[in-house]
């Protein structure tokens, strides 16, 4: 059998003879269904296949299990193309809410499982279109869109002897994934772990009983803090809660206020801290300006506090998007001309034709707002 592959552009070349034949068959199939592709048709029969094409990775909801009155764990069977994850990482999830495709990021709340399923735990935020939909309306059998796991909030391997985990509210979600991975396997990990778990009240604490179980079995030392009972946590008192704080490698996940305070606290003492943020911190806004999307031919007038991504989506422009918080780079587009301002830092990014790169300056549309007249290659 010949091992040459088709010269046609865009076809995946394969080293094996079988791959060459496969590519030829696919070329014939694509020609038979033009202007569609074979993938477009396969989507109607087998959306969870290994190579889903540009339709993207998908998953099927297996179970929606309530955790607290406001939260639920969603078990998803990912398509065969899912490349796995490390506990602590997050996944981008796209779901159709009232017919509109919306994307959000959620921490994966399990380690790799024997059944290959993945899970996220979602807290319904009042008025939150996606979280409300996932917790209250999503039913088993529904298809969701997925991206591969991402994120740097993972434990080192091998584990350090002493760990400190600080979480608040839904900040527990990446951490529960870590703990499950450490202690649900045949040979549980050995490490001295302190978990400071902060919640508004006992009833809203996600995974409360599971964490207590870990504590009872001696896996972790659990420090439960409830705002309604103990008052809002002052990080200056952390020493009294965790006396050997300085000896522990620290990980924290929760709202910006707590993380900012913790970062300051640890930096002052020269201690390392890894954090995971769910929402960008908005710092600066400017006057705004007009944004022209060259390929789609859309012109928008934007204020200085709305992200280019939000504004363009609202105007019907099909935008690439991801975490919506400036992390995943899924929303990057080239700025050909103009200035944009990073809403987290106030930093200006300027593109000047003839001076900056000809292809434009890549900008993250999810955290940048217009700061003048802009042209974007999209």
């Amino acid at each position: 059998m010949s091992s040459t592959s088709l010269p046609a552009a865009g076809l995946r070349r394969s080293a094996s003879p079988a791959g060459g034949l496969g590519a030829r068959l696919r070329a014939v199939a694509d020609a038979a269904v033009s202007p569609l592709t074979l993938d477009d048709l396969l989507d109607h029969f087998h959306p969870l296949r290994r190579e889903p094409g540009d339709g993207g990775l998908r998953g099927r909801v297996v179970e929606v299990r309530p955790e607290t009155p406001e939260s639920a764990t969603i078990l998803i069977k990912p398509g065969k193309g899912w490349r796995g994850h490390v506990p602590g990482q997050y996944v981008r999830l796209g779901v159709d809410v009232d017919g509109i495709r919306l994307w959000r990021t959620y921490s994966l709340t399990h380690g790799p499982r024997a059944d290959r399923n993945i899970s996220i735990t979602v807290k319904a935020i009042p008025g939150g279109a996606v979280s409300e939909h996932l917790v209250r309306r999503l039913a088993p059998g529904a298809l969701v869109h997925l991206a591969q796991a991402e994120g740097e909030f993972v434990l080192p391997d091998p584990l350090p002897e002493k760990l400190l985990l600080v979480t608040a509210g839904s900040g527990i979600t990446p951490v529960i994934g870590m703990l499950r991975n450490l202690f649900l396997r045949a040979e549980p990990a050995r490490a001295d772990i302190v978990l400071v778990s902060v919640n508004q009240s006992e009833t809203t604490a996600i995974f409360r009983d599971e964490l207590r179980g870990h504590a009872e079995r001696g896996h972790i030392t659990l420090v439960e803090r409830y705002d309604d009972r103990d008052g809002v946590l002052d990080v200056a008192t952390l020493d009294t809660l965790v006396p050997d704080l300085a000896e522990r490698l620290a990980y924290a996940c929760g709202p910006a206020g707590l993380l900012d305070a913790l970062e300051q606290h640890h930096a002052d003492r020269g201690l390392a801290l890894t954090t995971e943020r769910f929402r960008p911190v908005v710092l600066a806004t400017s006057e705004g300006g007009s944004v022209a999307f060259e390929q789609t031919g859309t012109d928008l007038e934007l204020d200085g506090s709305t992200t280019i991504l939000d504004a363009a989506e609202a105007a019907g422009v099909l935008m690439p998007s991801g975490c919506r918080m400036g992390i995943c780079m899924g929303c990057v587009l080239p700025l050909k001309e103009g200035a944009v301002r990073d809403l987290r830092t106030g930093e200006l990014t300027v593109a000047v034709p003839g001076e900056t790169d000809k292809g434009g300056v890549p900008i993250q549309t999810c955290i940048n707002a217009a700061a003048g007249t802009c042209r974007i290659d999209h």
Partner: protein, 410 residues
């Protein structure tokens, strides 16, 4: 028909400026109601439609593998024809209008859709969405009024060439997808320009269109017949695919003729359109320049809901599945302001549109003054007109028009 401003009785003479703006506000409110209630059910509708269309096409093509058997040929050809019609009308046309862009689904979006048609999505979106929907029924601006080769209005000067326009129109109907492609390219105008002076955009679009036509032809006339070859069905499959394309072309041509061609639908003079047309004025032009087809649910789906041409022209980007519920509200606005809501069953509208094509192929007044008894003398007159010089033609033409007027008055 005569452009609205040259008619003895202008159908909107009774409307004040305030009326026209009130119409605009009422129609805007109807539009907003739909936008506010768009949701999961609408999304399910279009996804279901796409799913149905693709499975129908796949199934029909599978049946056609055995099209050496006559029943399989008939079933497969009917199925494929319906699938192609659905793809072009209810799905392609409407998706490319941006009716489903609000779903933010990159797979069902005006910027990514490509359709089963000779014309490219990009070319069609320009000529249809930008030109036709903006300059609806403005003579000389809206090429949908005849694709540049027909006499669609009394005010267009008659020349003998137009005698053949019913034939042109029929040929155009049979090969409609290529007609659309040529029209998107403004082929006639561009070919008259010397080759080296043609705009670069034309050369680019021409290349894209030829590429698209090649892919379309490869699929229907090479790949599928070859796939059917082992079953001895290559030629029947080729014939079936040709037939399905022909059926789709004839059908879509008929539906589109019904939208703007039936007798009584108004045309407009460019000079009479205000420099800055208000929203209300634009709405009124759309109201008078379109005609609906009445019929069953199946009829509406098969026409891509262009049976609701009036509603479609008022709200080109609303999801097509909502036109039916909007129609009675729109009709109420027509009634309230004393405007003619043009609606009739398909055969009647097709007949009316063809009547107009035939009538205008003759000099003004000729058809109206012709009957069985005077046919020989009328034919002689027609011959005189066709062969006369311009000046004589003008004199005879004026006499003919006067006679038609007298006849109409009697």
């Amino acid at each position: 028909m005569t452009t609205i401003t040259k008619k003895p009785e202008n159908p909107i003479a009774h409307l004040t400026e305030a009326d026209i703006e009130a119409i605009g506000a009422e129609l805007d409110a109807i539009r907003q109601e739909v936008i506010d209630s768009r949701g999961a059910e609408d999304a399910a509708y279009i996804r279901g439609m796409v799913d149905l269309q693709r499975k129908l096409e796949l199934g029909s093509r599978a049946v056609l593998l055995f099209s050496a058997l006559p029943p399989a040929w008939v079933v497969g050809t009917v199925g494929l024809s319906v699938a192609k019609i659905l793809e072009n009308m209810e799905i392609g046309h409407n998706v490319m209008h941006g009716q489903w862009d609000w779903m933010r689904d990159p797979k069902i979006h005006s910027t990514t859709w490509e359709w089963d048609n000779a014309s490219t999505a990009d070319g069609w979106k320009h000529s249809h969405n930008q030109v036709h929907h903006t300059y609806t029924n403005i003579v000389g601006k809206d090429n949908d009024l005849g694709y540049g080769i027909m006499r669609v209005d009394e005010e267009q000067r008659w020349v003998p060439m137009f005698l053949a326009q019913p034939l042109w129109n029929f040929i155009n109907a049979c090969f409609f997808e290529y007609g659309i492609a040529a029209y998107d390219l403004e082929l006639g105008r561009n070919l008259r320009i010397p080759k080296e002076k043609r705009p670069e955009s034309f050369t680019r679009s021409l290349k894209a269109t030829l590429g698209k036509i090649r892919k379309q032809a490869t699929k229907d006339y090479v790949v599928h017949p070859l796939l059917a070859l082992p079953f001895g069905s290559a030629l029947p499959t080729l014939a079936a695919n040709f037939t399905a394309n022909l059926v789709r072309n004839l059908w879509s041509h008929s539906v589109i003729m019904c939208g703007h061609f039936p007798e009584g639908v108004e045309t407009f003079e460019l000079a009479a359109i205000p420099e800055k047309e208000t929203r209300g004025q634009w709405y009124v032009r759309q109201m008078l320049g379109s005609a609906n087809i009445s019929g069953s649910k199946l009829m509406h789906v098969m026409t891509g809901n262009l049976s609701h041409q009036i509603e479609h022209h008022l709200f080109p980007d609303l999801p097509s599945n909502r036109y039916a519920e909007v129609a009675p509200k729109v009709r109420a606005v027509f009634d309230k302001y004393g405007l003619n809501y043009h609606e009739a069953p398909l055969p009647q509208q097709v007949g009316s549109a063809w009547h107009r094509v035939v009538r205008l192929s003759f000099p003004n007044g000729w058809l109206a003054t012709t009957n069985a008894k005077n046919l020989p003398s009328q034919l002689k007159l027609l011959y005189t007109l066709a062969t006369a010089d311009r000046k004589t033609r003008k004199v005879v033409q004026l006499r003919l028009e006067r006679r038609a007027k007298e006849l109409a008055a009697a």
